[in-house]
Symmetry: C2
Subunit: 269 residues, 2 copies
DNA sequence: CGACTAGTTGAGGAATTTCAAGCGGTGTGG
DNA sequence: CCACACCGCTTGAAATTCCTCAACTAGTCG
């Protein structure tokens, strides 16, 4: 069975306030990119009070599965998750990865049940956001409603990035650029990546064979673009990778450079 | 101009619905699937009064282009549109099609500008929905907020359907099943399709060469699954096509079986 | 009528997959 | 602590899907 990860023996569901620090949203470094972004004063306090219930996930533990009723959105606080579907032939298709500051589960809003599985790729922490409560808060907090829509829309964005018909090299380069951008906290995009996902996950996500991912990484390495040792990737020439992926404009570029509120005019190559 | 339907050679202002006919959303047959779904009484009247401005598009006319500031969402009332991006090498990538009852432009919420172009594939009518006004209405109309999120989430759904790694046959079969399902008004899924999109559009959307689309359609025809004459497709064995596409469960299935349901507002238990 | 475009069909070729084998960490049991 | 097995990853060779190139057909429009 593909995709079976080492399962921890215990569910390990702890109820801790806020994020890794164990405090409320007010003190969370991810807040500018998370749902309560833009909230202030009483709105923020109200959100922090009402909303987040933290849940820890061990690597390999599922956050939700196909068929689960949709009740909550999940803001990734620490770690990394993947969502995937298993088709009728048993093949696994990775649909998306979720990094800290991102929102998982939004694709279940419409069907009102989860159509995909989500699993932690490493030990992770998510904030469980009751969708009902979220809705109640959103109608009295326009900024929250706005941010919720923004974050759901962002998923469209990330899906469109890899939806197109590109070569394996282009997609893999774009993947690395994208991961680097999405792993960035508040500073610059990191050049050292410790990927949480396996080659197989990457391959499935990019619609490639795992061997192809290996081969292209090796090629990138030969060409001095990066240094790859298992899941540790060193981006030696990020600009070069970016160049390879640049054909995927405008999506690749925007996915990387996106910062809230500041819109740069589009300029085609 | 290409893309004109064989049936009505004239500008074809046949039976316009609701807004497009100069009447409000109250009388629009698409309402159960559109944004004001679930609204009643004063809420509905308020929405109908404040919101929709109809816009007609000739085949080949653009609704928006890359770089346009994001100001409105667009509910397709009649016709069909495609969204597409042009990469740095000048290749066009079709990202999505929009059928009556569907919402275009949601992928621009996050970046606050359009990252793709949208063009009418045939003479079409869309309802222009000012996003600002929409947001103002949504904070006082929980059902509207809910439906807005649902419709944006649905886009995630349709993208996930073809995101996976499937064979050309599977994707094309899934495409036909999907179009049939999405063209369905309130009745059954039609078995006669008058596609608004060219083979090239289909191919780009499915990440195939146009020749491959032709060949596979011919193969389907030889196998008695359908009858294809240019853009007129007769689904002779919908179940057979469904079978071929069924490997794409759960997405294919749900995209098809999804029926508009009464929206449960947040507050009701 | 004749040019033009969309679509079809065939042959050859290329990118990627599949099959197969081997490498190298990591964990486990002796 | 070491031997062994396992798993993720890599690499090579053969196979295959799908693409590219090319020619052709049939509608469409001036």
């Amino acid at each position: 069975m593909p995709g079976v990860q080492p399962s921890p023996p215990t569910p390990a569901v702890t109820s801790l306030r806020g994020v890794a620090a164990g405090r409320g949203c007010e003190f969370c470094g991810l807040r500018p990119r998370c749902l309560p972004a833009g909230l202030e004063g009483e709105h923020l306090a109200g959100f922090a009070r009402a909303m987040p219930r933290a849940r820890r996930l061990r690597a390999g533990e599922h956050l939700f599965r196909v068929g689960d009723p949709f009740e909550s959105l999940f803001a990734v606080s620490r770690g990394c998750l993947k969502s995937y579907a298993v088709d009728a032939e048993g093949r696994e298709h990775v649909l998306n990865f979720y990094f800290p500051g991102e929102l998982a589960g939004a694709d279940a809003i419409y069907p009102e049940q989860h159509m995909a599985n989500a699993i932690a790729l490493e030990d992770s922490v998510v904030c469980v956001l009751s969708y009902r409560t979220l809705g109640q808060l959103a109608v009295v907090t326009p900024e929250l409603q706005q941010q919720l829509l923004r974050l759901v829309s962002r998923d469209l964005f990330s899906m469109a990035t890899i939806a197109g018909d590109f070569t394996a090299e282009e997609r893999l380069a774009a993947f690395l650029v994208m991961v680097s951008a999405r792993l960035r906290g508040s500073g610059d995009a990191p050049t050292r990546l410790d990927l949480a996902m396996s080659r197989q996950d990457i391959a499935s996500y990019l619609r490639l064979a795992t061997e192809t991912v290996s081969r292209i990484l090796a090629r990138f390495q030969r060409n001095g673009l990066l240094k790859a040792d298992r899941r540790r990737i060193l981006l030696i020439d990020p600009a070069g990778l970016y160049e390879i992926a640049a054909c995927m404009n405008p999506y690749a570029r925007c996915a990387e450079d996106r910062r809230p509120r500041h819109v740069r005019p589009f300029r085609s190559a």
